[in-house]
Amino acid sequence: MKNYQHIAQLLDKYWEGETTLAEDKMLQTFFASETIPVEFQAFQSIFQAKNDIQTQTLSTDFDTNLLAILKEKTKETEKETKVIQLQTAQSAELQKWRWMAGIAASIALILAVYIVLPKTETVKIAKIELTEEEHEKALVAYEQTKMALMFVSATMNHGTQTAAKSLSKVKNLKEVIEGMEN
């Protein structure tokens, strides 16, 4: 029983946090043993757990595993940072484009004003009726042109007819006839 008294004392000391490393070890070995009195059984789990933790060792590939995990983690974070950088780059580009689009749109607008306005003016001018004198001149010019065109047209047709009659006298006969027939 002395032994148990000693254990009780050690436990008291332990709870006070005053045990030495050697005394801790003694307690641990005591609780690791199989014969433990009922009064101490409540504490057994504490010291057993402690014992277990202390006896746990790292597996040999722990370092390599950890390093591998770390590497992976850093890669992921790198990726993330890259993505973030890319996004910021894209948004910067986008903003640049928006700027340029804005400038282009304003230029287009100004150009449109300059191009469309004179055009509508010319259309207006074209719609203005000819003066009496101009109208007469235009009619004469039209008649003259028409006559000339008719003469050219008739001569052309006459030429092809003649060509059809006297093949030997005509150059480019085939082309001409084909042209006329089309």
Partner: protein, 169 residues
């Protein structure tokens, strides 16, 4: 360097344009004062006005052809046609043109030449010479030969008169 080529090309084009126009203009001007010639000149400005004529005042087919024209010169002389025809053929630089049609029918000579730029005919020159008549017609602009050829076929009496007249000679 690029600009240099462009400028040279532009100059070459303008020179070519001038040389063609000048030969015909010169020839026309030579006879402008000669009262035995009937001279017609219709300027680009005039063609603009013609294009503004109301639809009911013109024939649609004719106007279709006219709207693309920029200039017209007509020179007509009664009598001595062959002489003037030969002179015109000699004087005008016809080598610059592409021959479209040459017809000799009895004592009548007909010569059609064109100047084209790709598919577009930009100038049409017609020379007709017979003992009775000398005719020279030059059209400048965008010329559609098919449309012109169809004019006389779908023509009114005036066109037919010309056709008959040409046929008799």
């Amino acid at each position: 360097m690029k600009y240099g080529i462009l400028i040279i090309a532009f100059l070459a084009m303008s020179f070519q344009g001038f040389s063609q126009g000048d030969a015909i203009t010169k020839y026309f001007n030579k006879y402008t004062e000669d009262t035995s010639f009937t001279v017609v000149y219709i300027s680009p400005k005039m063609f603009e006005m013609v294009a503004r004529l109301a639809e009911d005042e013109v024939d649609a087919e004719v106007q279709q052809v006219i709207k693309d024209l920029k200039g017209l010169r007509v020179l007509v002389r009664e009598g001595d046609g062959t002489k003037y025809y030969n002179e015109a053929v000699k004087t005008l630089n016809l080598k610059a043109y592409e021959e479209l049609m040459t017809v000799r029918d009895g004592n009548q000579n007909i010569r059609f030449v064109i100047k084209d730029n790709g598919d577009i005919i930009e100038e049409l020159l017609l020379l007709v010479g017979s003992p009775d008549e000398f005719v020279m017609i030059s059209f400048v602009g965008k010329i559609d030969l098919d449309k012109i050829a169809k004019l006389a076929k779908t023509a009114d009496i005036q066109g037919l008169e010309h056709l008959e007249k040409v046929g008799k000679q």
